[in-house]
C-alpha cells in the first residue's frame, strides 16, 4: 500500500458519510413536510365535515320548528282530522258527533300531531349530496309530541312580603318558552311540593334523527335530537269547539230556527244565520274569553227541493215527514283562534307565509227540514221572490221558479182558476188566488172549498161596502184593482184601499190590529206575503221533536252536555 492511501480512503469515507447524513436529514425533513401537508389537508377535511354536520344539525332544528308549527296549524285547519264534528246526514240520522272533553281533546290532539308529523319527517329523510361533494344522510327520524297543561301553584304558598315563618327557598322555574322565572316557595315542613306557574299550555315536541355527514374519507355521525316547547291554548279552542257542537245540537233541535216562512231565500239564509249566532255566541263567549277569540261564525247553506214523495234523493220521511217541502243543507263553521300574535302559517294555496295565531276550524253539516207541506197547505212562500212557491195538497209547487233539484219539482200543473182557485202567472212567475173569478160567482163560496160569510167574501173582492168602486170584472189582475180614489190595491189579498189602512201596508197577523174582522182578506190575513187562515186555524204548539239523547220537558227539549250540563231549549 502506498503511503497516504489510508488518508485518502478515510477522507472519502468521511465525505460519503457526511453526504449520506445530510441526505438522510433532507429526506426526513421532506417527509415531515409532506406529512404536515397531509395532516393539514386531513384537518381541512375533518373541519369541513364537522362544520357541515354542525350546520346541518342546526338547520334541522329550524326545519323541525317550522314543521311542528305547520303541523299544529294543520291540526286546527283540519279540525283534528274530523271534518264535521256534528253531522246529520240526508236521511236525518246523526252520522257523527264529536264533542271531546278536555282530556279527550288533549289525547286526540297529540295523536293527530304524532300521525300528521310523518308527512313532514318522511320527506326529509334520505341522502343529500351538496355541491361541494359533502354527502348528508338523514335516517331514523322519530317524533313525539306531548301536551303540557298550564300548571298552577297549588300545594305551595308564595310570600312576596316574606311573612312566611317556615323555610323559604328561592327557586327557579322553567317556563314553556325556555325562560326562567324567580319565585319563592314556603315550605313549613320542609317537604313542600315544587310548583310552577305558566300562563299557557305547551305543546312539546321531541324529534330525533340519525345524522351522518361524510366528506372524502371522513365521516361524522350522531343521533341528534331537537326539543321544542310551543306555548298554546289549543285545549281552550277544542273546548270552545265542543260548545259550538252543543249549540248546533240545540239549533237542529229547534225547528223554528230554520223554518222556511220567508219571501225569498236570501232573507231566509240571513235569518237562519242570525238565529244560529243568537244561540251560539253567548255560549262561546263564556269559554276562556281571555285566551281565545271567535274569528268567524257562520253558515254555508243551500235549500234542496223535496217536491214529491218517493222521488227525492233524500229519505225525506226523516227530514220532511210529508216528503214534500224544502230541506236546508247547511255547513255551519266556527273558527276559533288564540288571542296572541301567533306564528307564521304557510298558506300553500297562496304560496306565502302569514303571521297569525293558531286556530281551530270546527264545522257541522246538517240536513234539516225547513218546510213541511203537510203543515202548510195553501201557504205561499218565496224562493226567488214572494209568492213563487206554494204548498198544496201535501206537495210543493213552483210557478216558474228554479230551485235546485228543479228537475224533480212540481211545476204548477193545474188549469189555474178553473181547478184550484189558485193561478200561476207565468209572466210574473208568482201565484195568486183567483179573486176575480170568485167575484163572479153567485155564491160566496171561497177558494178551495172554504166557506165564507157573504160579508167577508164581498170585502175580499172590493164590494161597495168597503168603499171601492171597482168591480171585480174590471180588475186587470189580482194585484192592480183600482179602488176608490185611485189607490192601487196591490196587496196580495188585503187590498190597501181601506180608509184605515195606509196605502201600501200589509195586514198583520190574524186577528191583530189592523187586521180586524172587517178587513180580513176573505178568511186570510197576510204576513209578509204569507196567508194564514184566521177563521179555521187554531194555533197549537206541537210537542217538540228532540234530538237523540235529549228528552221532552214541557214544551222544551232538554239535553245533557258534558261541558255545560243540562241545557233546555
Amino acid at each position: 500500500m502506498r503511503k497516504g492511501s489510508a488518508t485518502t480512503m478515510g477522507s472519502l469515507i468521511l465525505i460519503f458519510l457526511l453526504i449520506g447524513m445530510v441526505a438522510l436529514y433532507a429526506n426526513t425533513v421532506n417527509d415531515m413536510i409532506e406529512k404536515e401537508k397531509e395532516v393539514s389537508l386531513k384537518k381541512t377535511e375533518v373541519l369541513k365535515t364537522k362544520n357541515t354536520f354542525y350546520l346541518m344539525n342546526r338547520s334541522l332544528e329550524i326545519t323541525w320548528f317550522v314543521s311542528s308549527i305547520q303541523n299544529i296549524f294543520d291540526a286546527g285547519e283540519t279540525s283534528l282530522g274530523v271534518p264535521y264534528w256534528y253531522e246529520i246526514d240526508m236521511h236525518g240520522s246523526i252520522a257523527n258527533l264529536y264533542r271531546p272533553s278536555r282530556a279527550e281533546g288533549r289525547e286526540d290532539l297529540v295523536e293527530y300531531l304524532n300521525e300528521n308529523m310523518e308527512e313532514y319527517t318522511d320527506s326529509v329523510a334520505g341522502d343529500v349530496t351538496l355541491p361541494d361533494s359533502v354527502l348528508i344522510s338523514i335516517s331514523g327520524i322519530e317524533s313525539e309530541f306531548g301536551y303540557l297543561e298550564q300548571q298552577l301553584g297549588t300545594g305551595c304558598c308564595a310570600f312576596s312580603d316574606g311573612s312566611c315563618t317556615g323555610i323559604i327557598t328561592q327557586y327557579q322555574c322553567g317556563l314553556a318558552d325556555g325562560s326562567w322565572t324567580q319565585g319563592y316557595q314556603c315550605c313549613p315542613d320542609g317537604q313542600c311540593l315544587a310548583t310552577c306557574t305558566s300562563e299557557t299550555d305547551t305543546i312539546t315536541a321531541e324529534i330525533s334523527q340519525n345524522l351522518e355527514v361524510s366528506y372524502v374519507d371522513t365521516v361524522s355521525r350522531a343521533v341528534s335530537t331537537t326539543t321544542l316547547g310551543i306555548p298554546t291554548v289549543f285545549l281552550d279552542m277544542i273546548q270552545a269547539g265542543s260548545v259550538f257542537v252543543t249549540t248546533m245540537i240545540i239549533f237542529a233541535g229547534n225547528p223554528p230556527s230554520y223554518a222556511y216562512t220567508h219571501t225569498n231565500k236570501e232573507a231566509y239564509y240571513l235569518a237562519v244565520e242570525e238565529n244560529l249566532r243568537t244561540i251560539a255566541t253567548p255560549s262561546l263567549e263564556t269559554v276562556s274569553p281571555d285566551s281565545i277569540n271567535i274569528r268567524e261564525l257562520g253558515l254555508e247553506e243551500s235549500l234542496a227541493f223535496v217536491p214529491n214523495p218517493g222521488i227525492s234523493e233524500y229519505n225525506a220521511v226523516d227530514i220532511v215527514p210529508s216528503q214534500a217541502g224544502l230541506v236546508l243543507h247547511s255547513i255551519a263553521y266556527c273558527i276559533i283562534e288564540e288571542d296572541n300574535e301567533g306564528y307564521y302559517y304557510h298558506d300553500e294555496a297562496a304560496s306565502e307565509f302569514i303571521k297569525q295565531p293558531f286556530f281551530l276550524d270546527v264545522k257541522s253539516e246538517t240536513y234539516l227540514g225547513a218546510l213541511d207541506c203537510s203543515l202548510n197547505n195553501l201557504n205561499f212562500f218565496g224562493y226567488d221572490k214572494p209568492m213563487d212557491t206554494v204548498c198544496f195538497n201535501n206537495l210543493l209547487y213552483t210557478c216558474g221558479t228554479r230551485i235546485p233539484g228543479e228537475e224533480l219539482s212540481q211545476v204548477w200543473p193545474f188549469e189555474n182558476c178553473l181547478t184550484t182557485e189558485i193561478e200561476c202567472d207565468l209572466t210574473t212567475r208568482v201565484f195568486a188566488y183567483c179573486r176575480m173569478k170568485l167575484c163572479q160567482q153567485d155564491s160566496c163560496s171561497g177558494p178551495l172549498g172554504l166557506t165564507y160569510t157573504s160579508a167577508v167574501c164581498c170585502d175580499e173582492f172590493c164590494s161597495d161596502d168597503r168603499g171601492c168602486d171597482c168591480s171585480c170584472t174590471d180588475a186587470p189582475s189580482p194585484y192592480t184593482i183600482d179602488c176608490n180614489g185611485g189607490d192601487p190595491c196591490y196587496d196580495y189579498y188585503c187590498n190597501a184601499c181601506y180608509s184605515n189602512v195606509p196605502s201600501g201596508s200589509k195586514v198583520d197577523s190574524c186577528g191583530c190590529s189592523p187586521c180586524s174582522a172587517r178587513y180580513r182578506c176573505g178568511s186570510q190575513c197576510c204576513t209578509d206575503g204569507t196567508c194564514y187562515d184566521c177563521l179555521t186555524t187554531t194555533t197549537t204548539v206541537p210537542p217538540p221533536v228532540c234530538p237523540d239523547g235529549c228528552w221532552v220537558s214541557g214544551t222544551q227539549c232538554c239535553c245533557y252536555d258534558p261541558i255545560m250540563g243540562e241545557i233546555c231549549f
Binding site: 502506498r2 503511503k3 497516504g4 488518508t7 485518502t8 478515510g10 477522507s11 472519502l12 468521511l14 465525505i15 457526511l18 453526504i19 445530510v22 436529514y25 433532507a26 425533513v29 415531515m32 413536510i33 404536515e36 401537508k37 395532516v39 393539514s40 384537518k43 381541512t44 373541519l47 369541513k48 362544520n51 357541515t52 354542525y54 350546520l55 346541518m56 342546526r58 338547520s59 334541522l60 329550524i62 326545519t63 320548528f65 317550522v66 314543521s67 308527512e119 313532514y120 320527506s123 326529509v124 343529500v128 351538496l130 355541491p131 361541494d132 359533502v134 348528508i136 338523514i138 307564521y344 304557510h346 297562496a350 304560496s351 306565502e352 307565509f353 302569514i354 303571521k355
Partner: protein, 148 residues
Amino acid sequence: MKGFIEDITWTALVWIVVIVLLALVLAHFLVISLPWGPGSIKYSIMFSDFVNRPYTVAGALTYYKIEDRQLLEHSLESVIVSSIERAKSQAVIKDLESFMKSYDTDYQVTLSNSNIIFSIGKKHKLSTEALVPLLYKGILGYLKVNVR
C-alpha cells in the same frame, strides 16, 4: 514529504464538502422555518383558519335573529315560497348586510333553491364557502356564505 500534498488536498476537500453540506442544511432549515415556508406551522394554521372562516360566520348567522324570527327560519320559509317578500322577510337583506359588515372582509351571502332568492355582497376570488342546507317537505335550498 512524499504524500504530503495529497493529504492536504483530501483534507481541504473534506472541509469543502462539510461546508457545502452545512450550507445546504442551513438553507433547507431556513426555507422550511420561514413563516411563509411550505412546511411552517403558521402556514398550516392560516390554511385551517382560511378554510374554517366561512363556517364560523355561518355558525354565527344560524343564531342571528332578525325581527321576530331567526335568520335560518327566514331563510327556510323564503326557500319554501321562493320569495323573501312572500315569506315576509324583506328585512333580512338590510340586517344581514349590517351584520356582515362587522366582519370587515369580503363576503357574499346567497340564498337559493333552484333559483337565487337573494344575494348580498361580492364574492372574492380567494374566498372559501360554507353551505347551510335547508330542508322542508322535499324542498332543498341553501344558504351559502362566502368569506375571504
